[in-house]
């Protein structure tokens, strides 16, 4: 075992998959010599060369569309979108093409590819370097959406994503890149897609979260433990396909469910989780399914006072837990 930052785990996962399979290529803006603006691909160009680590023009639709074609041609592209905020020009290629290719061709074609993108706020990134975009894509059958929260999961899930036969969107919270460290095994391992994890067992309230919010949920669980509230935290890890069993098992045990997400509250991913819990665990609920989520403004404001107001944090989650526990 070795201690790794989140971004080191991503980089190791990429490097080891590129070593294992010569069909794995990396493409995106500044991913070559520079190694990416966050250095996620640092060193890969020197090791694997121009053919397999490709600096693209500033053309997000091209990055994704070319990846689809390359995947049809037998490669396993790992595309980097520099910030999740800039994925929107590629929306058509992701939603109309990558997601639908297998279904519309009745399994004649598939698009085995990964799209990595840093997401999330709390880093003074303002409206266009802070967005959480997962809900746009979790809505679309045919896409898989992964948001890991630990270095261990980041590496293991990235490996599984690259080996998967369908398009996977792999969102990495940029605030975690260097602030989150964790143990990563030396040998090869994978973490399966579609499996959530109970990261903190408890009995009274279930908190469902992912990405940075999975960490904040753990901190909140510790805070309310001082008030005598026992919280079970479920880290979803894969948003789609959703591991409903782990979610529902926990809620059926605790009888209370709080869903936490950083994205705007209205129509966010957590709204779907809430609906599923309300529909499928209704008989077990001792209180309303509630949400702690980002405010409904069009983006994260830059000024630090405004950004702090926007961001969900452990204390805001703890407040939500206390209210729900008292219900």
């Amino acid at each position: 075992m070795a201690l790794r930052t989140f971004i080191e785990a991503v980089r190791e996962g990429l490097r080891e998959e590129m070593t294992r399979d010569e069909n794995v290529i990396v493409l995106g803006e500044d991913v070559g010599k520079k190694g990416g603006v966050f250095l996620a691909t640092d060193g890969l160009w020197a090791e694997f060369g121009d053919d397999r680590v490709i600096d693209t023009p500033l053309t997000e639709s091209q990055i994704i569309g070319t990846s689809i074609g390359a995947a049809i041609g037998g490669l396993r592209p790992v595309a980097e979108i520099q910030f999740a905020d800039f994925i929107h020009p590629a929306f058509n290629q992701l939603v109309s093409e990558a997601a639908r290719l297998r279904y519309r061709s009745n399994n004649g074609y598939g698009a085995p590819m990964v799209v990595r993108a840093p997401y999330g706020g709390g880093v003074h990134g303002a409206l266009y370097h802070s967005q959480s975009v997962e809900a746009f894509f979790t809505h679309v059958p045919g896409l898989k959406v992964v948001i890991p929260s630990t270095p261990y999961d980041a590496k293991g899930l990235l490996r599984s994503s690259i080996r998967d036969d369908d398009p996977v969107l792999f969102f990495e919270h940029k605030k975690m890149y260097r602030s989150v460290r964790g143990e990563v095994p030396d040998g090869e391992y994978t973490v399966p897609l579609g499996k959530a994890q109970v990261t903190h067992p408890g009995t009274q309230v279930t908190v469902i979260a992912y990405g940075l919010m999975a960490h904040y949920a753990l901190e909140a669980a510790d805070r309310v433990a001082e008030d005598g509230i026992s919280v079970e935290v479920v880290d979803l890890r894969t948003l789609r396909p959703l591991d409903k069993e782990t979610v529902l098992d926990s809620v059926r045990k605790t009888g209370k469910c709080l869903v936490v997400y950083e994205d705007n509250r209205f129509g966010g991913y957590g709204a779907e989780v809430s609906a599923i819990v309300a529909e499928e665990a209704f008989d077990y609920l001792d209180g309303p399914v509630t949400r702690i989520a980002g405010p409904d403004v069009p983006g994260v404001p830059y000024n630090h006072v405004l950004e702090e107001w926007f961001m969900v944090n452990p204390e805001k989650i703890a407040d939500g837990i206390r209210k729900l526990a008292a219900y």
Binding site: Q62, S67, G69
Partner: protein, 379 residues
Amino acid sequence: MAVTRSDKPAPARAAAAKRALGADLGLTADDLLEMYRLVALARAVDERMWVLNRAGRIPFVISGQGHEGAQVGVTWALQKGKDWIAPFYRSIATCLTFGMTARDILTAQYATASDPSSGGRQMPGHYGSHEHNLVSVSSPVATQLLHAVGLALAAKIKKTGQVALTIMGEGSSNQGDVHEGLNFAAIHKLPFIFVVENNGYAISVPLARQVAGSSVAQRAAGYGIPGVTVDGSDVLACYAAAREAVDRARAGDGPTLIEAIVTRLTGHSSDDQQTKYRSEEELAADKAHDCVPTFRAQLADAGILTPEEEARIGAEITAAVDDATEYAESQPDPQPSTAMKWVYAEDWPSETPPAWGLGTPAEHPAESEPSEPAGEGVH
């Protein structure tokens, strides 16, 4: 039984050899007759689609009439079973030339379970076949250009010697994906060919309102690649242009843009009435440039297409189209029990069926009332 290339006729006659049409391009009389058969077959299949639509048998048609000569000429330059094509919704002749059959085209019109393009999931015209290296067509236009660029990238990285070609209309060529893809393909000198079938109209909007400067080929200069314009009713000129582009691509010299000037002999689709926005004179002029009689006359003049040969090919085509119609009419609809298959490569428990389940087997439309012909619709 569908007609395939292996059914092609007896060797060339002496008359053909004497004139040696196409010899400078390395085409034999057999090649030319087969190219003619494909052009004429595509037209016959297309015409049958309209008959079936007007008879209420199929709800929607999108046509390739006027484009067939360019499609067969261009596609003939590629290597079947090796190279890649990302076609578009008028690519019937392209698909036939690359290995699909009349049955494959007509089962797509009926959206049968056996439709090889999509198993009845897509609208007619959205062809595709992994077996024949034809990438599945979608409805957003020009997206496929990037898929062909990606295939060309894979071919270059894997050193397979393959060429990837994409085709669209001049209206579609205005999309941003075209700029992004041409730029990338040119930077990396990818083995990629971009064919624009310019029929002068994007549904109802004429060329002058779509393309500044009225030439898509000229735009190639901006990417530092050759851009050529070719008469789309001249099958051999289209073949020559495509062959040169293929040679360049295989030699590592990068992409080529070919703009084939074609005609649109039908409305945009079965839901469009083009007399509303095109004059009778213009439509008559288009008809005078129809690639099918043009190619037929060229081959007849060269002594390659004798009256006997023409009759034989015509009979073969009629039989193939009749067979394909009967076959498609007899094929069952896909079942709702299959409708949740292939969202992903494997099934996932979280993708639950709707509250109303996966249904009971539907009646085959051949046994039910024919549907009303489509009216003025979304297309």
